[in-house]
Subunit: 422 residues, 2 copies
């Protein structure tokens, strides 16, 4: 991949204990620091790997807690130390992303920022061209630089520089890279980010809606409305509504109706996010602004101490995405790649075909006559699973958890009840 | 319990790694040293506890390997140091029991000896009077002291002092202890041992046949023939044959035919056992005799070194019980108590109603929505089993084994294949 998206920066909020992955993911070793899928790279490293080609290493920013600062720095040697933002304390995603966006704006100018969780897994969907298309698309977007405030997008300025969806077949006769396909037409993660980037250039807050592979009850859903009006990019649509995690019946209806999974990926011009925050939560925005102003000065510590504890602990979904969608200024672009929030052991099992994950110094777990089972070990113990299909075995220094995949969502409740015994 | 059986000694062979209980039972911590049933006493301590009232502490002998000598001494403070016999090396049960019997004979005279494995569990059968009957029976047997060589028993001398089977109802009008029942009529372990003791006094080798509670394929079976002829004790019968561990169809037939489980408990006059050994395996008997002669002298070590490695490694069942049964000189008495050889995790699960066993310093395993499951831990880890009925979870410092009870017999094969990885 040769080119980055012009004026694009990335924020990676790296937090959350992942209690559904207890005892593997715990506050002192959260899942984003672990190679839960046995890929050789931890989740935050995988996140870095897929975003750094789009933003460039000097436009990558990570927001994490003080306890994970050193581990993140070690795992991401390409991250500039100044761009490793230590949260003054855990305050949920709005404060973390808002602060990072405000700092980014002050350091990098009013660029388009994408916020991507540090602990999700993305793989190319089977049969797609993958990210090879990114070169062509980023070259094309070099000519587009329209700025816009919150409000309905016109699309005219950008559409001029890009292939419209229906014209993809022409590529074969033109000078573009082989294997190229239109934006949003199955070209993987990078293509979806680029489509979201286009929507963000139009002044919208964009989110990627993942094509569901099941009627999952573990995810929220997005229903899409009309196209935003970017000529040739009808797949970029307004968000009609965000739906909470549904029950199975409702999830089945959502999938049948074409709703998509809400992956919590947001792409926006920094000024647009902060303007919406100011409009919807003025004191919050004011606090974030003061802290960002002080961040690169000697007043950082004192300002953080004064402001941070009083910021609301609220998710960006609740603070921004839902109200802005209701106001008609959220866009969604389709993501037709395999995605997982690695939210529970069932998700992990889907990502690990042989079911064997060793995160520590011990031998790889051995599974016999146990199709669909997952064994994750962080210890030197040999883990053996025999004759238990769909079992989940998770071994840490303090805990041996044995359950079944269909009870994976219930692990958080177990952790809440039993976690203090160890 | 007030009285011991006159002229009765006990041998407890304590050996065997118990590979079906891997990784909990291992060569360096075999199951007899563990409190596998959560009773507060290890298996060898429980064995001691139920036999010392019958023999007296100074007539208790344990034969074990050098590696377990210290642990046995620590666990059994009542055992006289001289009666803790260290096997010169692992040589199976005939050598161990033969040597112990020969040493016992030289130290204690030609008494009746019972050999009982160190790693079995016995509980009173539901609704029985338990061992309370022992007082009455042992008082009665004080008057019986008939000696006899191998051959058919007359029974006359002994029968005089004991209640015959059909007369149990008379107890209620007599002076005997309340709750008493006739020998072999459901009075538990002590009563069965005493009946075996009577048969041994008659010159027979006696074994206790356990009333089966299932058509188990994990045990060998005993078929009984005619009563040995002890008047009033028709339940003491000749062994017709010993049957190897059967398949399920055969086991079902055995149970229907009234066969009993072979618990490997043998009771015999020391001279009788050694005479049979001399008759069937003259060189073996000669070696055992020489070593026993040297045992309490300065020549013990040298003699052991010279003789022990050349003794056949053979089970007493094969060397003595089977051929002697064929020659018509083995007796069997019924044992109507709950017995288990604790041979695999399914057996352990049957003995632990709540399924939770902690052998180490950690918290007790927690089982939720997992009826019939068993979790045994030797570590400080909290073991949690949720939603897995009949699961087996066994956690040692080196291994976490997760399987199902119906695969319990297969654990030895797993251990053989995987044991060297840890």
């Amino acid at each position: 991949m040769s080119g980055t998206l012009p004026g694009f920066g990335v924020i990676i909020p790296a937090g959350g204990a992942g209690k559904r992955l207890w005892p593997i993911s715990q506050p002192n070793h959260p899942k984003f620091l672990l190679d839960l899928t046995g890929s050789g790279r931890t989740l935050i490293q995988q996140t870095w790997d897929r975003l750094v080609p789009l933003a460039g290493a000097d436009r990558m920013m990570v927001v994490t807690g003080a306890g994970h600062r050193d581990a993140v720095a070690t795992q991401l040697p390409g991250l500039e130390p100044a761009n490793l933002i230590t949260e003054p304390g855990p305050r949920d995603s709005m404060a973390a992303i808002g602060l990072a966006a405000a700092i980014a704006q002050r350091r990098w100018g009013d660029l388009v920022v994408g916020s991507f969780a540090a602990d999700h897994v993305i793989k190319p969907a089977p049969g797609t061209a993958g990210d090879a298309v990114a070169d062509r698309v980023s070259a094309a977007t070099m000519s587009s630089a329209a700025d816009a405030g919150p409000g309905r997008a016109s699309g005219a300025a950008l559409a001029a520089g890009l292939e419209p969806e229906g014209a993809a077949g022409l590529e074969l006769e033109g000078a573009a890279a082989p294997g190229a396909a239109a934006i949003g037409g199955g070209e993987g993660f990078a293509g979806a980010v680029q489509a979201a980037y286009l929507a963000a250039q139009e002044g919208l807050i964009a989110t990627i809606g993942i094509e569901p592979t099941s009627a999952s009850t573990a995810y929220g859903y997005i229903s899409a409305g009309d196209p935003i009006g970017l000529v040739g990019f009808d797949q970029i649509r307004f968000v009609k509504a965000f739906q909470e995690k549904p029950d199975l019946t409702t999830a089945t209806k959502y999938v049948a109706a074409g709703y998509r999974w809400n992956a919590g990926m947001f792409v926006f011009r920094a000024s647009v996010l902060l303007r919406w925050l100011g409009q919807l939560h003025p004191e919050f925005a004011d606090g974030i602004g003061q802290l960002a102003d002080a961040w690169d000065t000697a007043q950082r510590g004192a300002t953080a101490k004064r402001i941070w504890p009083h910021l609301p602990a609220v998710a960006i979904d609740r603070a921004i995405a839902e109200p802005v969608a209701a106001l008609g200024a959220m866009a969604t672009v389709p993501g037709d790649f395999a995605w997982s929030d690695v939210g529970d052991f069932d998700s992990v099992a889907q990502l690990v075909p042989d079911g064997s994950v060793q995160l520590g110094a011990g031998p790889p777990p051995v599974l016999e006559d146990s199709p669909g089972a997952l064994a994750v070990s962080q210890t030197t113990q040999l883990v053996v699973v025999a004759g238990l299909p769909d079992a989940v075995v998770a071994v840490s220094d303090g805990v041996v958890l044995v359950t079944r995949r269909e009870r994976a969502q219930g692990v958080k409740a177990l952790a809440d009840r039993l976690g203090d015994r160890v």
